[in-house]
Symmetry: D2
Subunit: 329 residues, 4 copies
């Protein structure tokens, strides 16, 4: 089918490629003309402006946005002003699901449909396909089925429903980004579970190391049990085969550790991109305990330096009640 795509970065560009490869007609736009030209040279129809993008699409139009969350809302409003009743705007970015709820309500007044699609698969999606979590009105989602089927990994066509082929209509507008949000929350938790575990494996030789004997260093009481030099890269690899914790994240982890098990190219500052925060806030709103997902989020905050003032305060208290001076380094 025909589809418009706006935002031709890493994600959007590759989605266009996957769609064209399956024979879909893609009309594409980006604020960077070079990105448009590049995809045009691969067979897409280029559009140099939003107006042109809209003009080049047959009705009912479907325009898919792959934009930074911060600007998506504004673009949707601009685009809607150019579109007509029966048209559909799809947000495939990492937007807050609340924006989808609000935007859908506003666009409904203009009889324009809003479909939110949570998209997982990262840089591997071009080849593997993208897992799609979809929210929006039934009719629009039905119209877009050929696009979803192509973008998704595909799979067992005989299975009832589409989930087994990698895409799912999760509910009304907002449901797609809600499910994607929780997906990323889980992702944070899983990543942290592996990271903590490998950190323990790295420390398994703690008993071999000289340990300060000062009052500010907690002693290791049974060093004989911490004499292992574990090859963490090999462990990651072996766990990929037949263990209960095998996963795609572990596959990637094993790859990364195989190259350099010290991970010396990294400093340890871990960004978070919003979904993890929104997941925990949704959990709090609904009273759901999420100690694991929160812990994973807070470790990232701490890695960004945001725990320092709290730590200074602990040192100040320790000095005040116990005369403990901070240990250096």
């Amino acid at each position: 089918m025909q589809i418009g795509m706006m935002g031709l970065g890493r994600m959007g560009g590759n989605m266009v490629r996957r769609l064209m490869h399956a024979g879909h007609e893609c009309v594409v736009h980006d604020i960077d003309p070079k990105s448009v030209a590049a995809l045009a040279s691969e067979g897409a129809v280029g559009a140099s402006s939003m107006e042109e993008l809209v003009a080049k699409l047959d009705k009912p139009r479907h325009i898919w946005l792959m934009l930074p969350a911060a600007i998506t809302g504004g673009v949707v409003e601009q685009l809607a002003a150019l579109m007509e009743p029966g048209d559909t705007i799809i947000d495939g970015g990492n937007s807050n699901y609340r924006d989808a709820v609000d935007l859908a309500a506003r666009l409904a007044a203009q009889q324009i449909s809003f479909v939110d699609v949570g998209t997982s698969g990262g840089v591997h999606g071009l080849e593997r396909g993208y897992c799609l979590m979809i929210g929006g009105p039934d009719e629009s989602v039905r119209q877009l089925d050929p696009v979803f089927a192509t973008l998704a990994p595909g799979g067992d066509d005989s299975a009832p429903g589409t989930a087994a082929r990698g895409y799912l209509h999760c509910g009304p507008s907002g449901a797609g980004h809600f499910v994607k949000m929780v997906h990323n929350g889980i992702e944070y938790g899983m990543m942290a579970a592996y990271a903590e575990g490998f950190n323990i494996l790295k420390a398994a030789n703690a008993g071999k190391q000289e340990r300060s004997a000062d009052a500010e260093t907690s002693p290791l009481s049974e060093p004989q049990y911490y004499q292992f030099d574990i090859d963490v890269g090999q462990v990651a690899e072996v766990w990929r085969h037949g263990s209960v914790i095998s996963s795609w994240l572990l596959d990637l982890t094993a790859d990364a550790l195989a190259g350099d098990s010290e991970l010396s190219q990294f400093g340890g500052r871990v960004s978070d991109s919003g979904e993890g925060r929104w997941t925990v806030k949704a959990a709090i709103d609904t009273g759901v305990p999420t100690p694991v997902l929160s812990s994973a989020l807070y470790s990232r905050f701490a890695s960004q330096g945001h725990s320092v003032y709290a730590e200074k305060l602990l040192s100040a208290m320790r000095l005040a009640f116990g005369g403990h001076f901070e240990k250096k380094g």
Copy 2:
């Protein structure tokens, strides 16, 4: 090769089957004669006592134990008294790695080798193979290579090392169970990450529900954002295809939810079997922060009812300072 197996329960029995299928000769013993008879009828050599088990094996002997952790230590000592220098005892159960460190040291005095093998794969291992994490002396581990290669899932024979085929010599005695312990710690964390996430999905319709307006119920300030009835079984299925959080645990979860997404056969009492506890204790000994793994463990403790006294105390404090009476039900 020839191997003795003691402990013919779900795990041990299936391991013998997998070994015999590949042509290994298994001499088997269990305190339950029926278990011995069953495997004998499938081609194993039965032994009605530890003495007979030892007598029927060629030197150097290799006896693999698949026993409850609580009795393994005692059996190892009894068995060692019947064995000779050059023989090897393998513990494939869920023992504490510290026991392996201690037992190996004791058996070394008798020139008997002790090999500890962490085994993951659960009830699916017979068919898929077991992921094996091995600790022990090089020579014994080398002798046992054909057994490990058969029990493991196998895989790329051209890869350097054995990890890509699903088994790994992790280090000296204790290293196998240490790595398995951390494996299970990670498993707890991953399981909890999924469980918390699905719990949020279940609560995504909280805005539809009547909410008490009393002072003891925190209000849901923006109910319009919690109007989703999510089909969690379908979500689990779609995440299996192309998403960053796909994993074998998710495959099993999708299966379980496909049958009954309310999980009504379960009450929510979650046991823990030791490794999760030992993992966190090892982390504490070595000063490694493990908020995620600990949170996962504590949720299990709480599910077993062990947080009730703490909660009563909170209620007592709230009554004392604020005059808040506990809400019923």
Copy 3:
């Protein structure tokens, strides 16, 4: 000075009493005429309606609300419609500080000041005084100083500023409830710290208890170290005297435990009233790690039964990969 009070529940009524006792003139209103009559009999000027309350106050008027958070916003709007430029509305309840930010902006257009006062002290405030955290415009806060000084516990008059006397102008509108919100977040954390600690003390005799030997019960490896029958009420008492963890909360805890150290009147369902949730959400917005405050909040959620679905899912996974059946009771 003269002040209007609306909302004569446990908190509001006692605040009026404390104010009258110091000679302030209180004009009071409540939807329950009996509450008005009761305080009128103690010397307050009763008002049977909002209109009458406004009419009976001299300009510039100061009306203090002690109402449930859920209705405060609406009452403020109604009241503002009856008031005049230069008047001040004070919200002393447990409202979200965001409401104060929004309400202050709206009322500013009418030249009515909005002052938010976080109030701590609970049922003991009548006697001990209330700790007051104040947000709002300088001029209004200055006008209200005599009221704040009376409600607060008082203290060192020679100290610079008012904090040493138990009240503080924390910043513009919203700052008072923001500081109170964080106060309650800390309160949750402290309460949980005590509760967890006393729970460990209660379990110090775990080694004396019979323990199931089944595979679903983690063994207690060194029971000899858990043979203590601790009198937790006496411990709470001794900690009040000279220890680093003495506090007012501990005083109350010791009282509660002295009566019945089993706390048998409580079931363990712990409500949360909003501030704890808002604190964590504010921490997440600003990227501040709050593992302790969140953990305390989640324990309350779990006590309310909101972790059950997650736990069922864990049981379902354990059955799927390991054939583990849930242990009963």
Copy 4:
């Protein structure tokens, strides 16, 4: 009464002073002769060796040790060899309660009593008195009552039991250090609750700050709610007066913040001294959920740099699945 004291550091020295001030006769020893001489000049009887210390005491002897935990066990054994049936050794240091259980059992064979005393009060104990948590045989604890009564803060003599005067016989040997261990675990939790709360207050002006707009920085969606410049020192002070979270720790915190609310003399490296670790390990052994106490402990571990490898691994995973490069600084 007469008592021997060994270990004349900050704690031991001040305890001798408090005892002598009340008329007790103190025989003192330290490996540093200057410490002995200093206290001798204040009225103590000096002893230049363990042998002399033992010799100068009347039977039954009572020798109190205030030594680093790492050497206490060895000194007890040496000392016991010099003592006689009926004598008592008291360990007032921060030893693991398990050592007390083990030492008491060993000394019992020699009919020497072992009393473990957990001591809280820090550098303020000389003046305020020490909170004492005592484990050991009834007879020895009875003999030592005059010493305990002096060291403790004292208080209501009419109250039943001794807890209201600041000391408590908690149970058999080990019970004192067990209770002190849990005390310190709670202390960690309370300290962290305050530290996290003040960290949020510090961040209350986040909406005023320029924020990077790159994909690796999570946006602050509602900056209008984070416009507060909170004077955290003043807040600490006001909370001391009438609030639910007033405590001795808060008193000290207010002092520290009054001097320099930026706490610029501290770097944020927070040591932990053992008890916090043992508390969590005891909780795990007994299956008690301690999310708050553990979180507090892990924040200290992280402040010591022990989370870096885990964070590097998270960055490696993010690069692998999403092409995210680590943000610098």
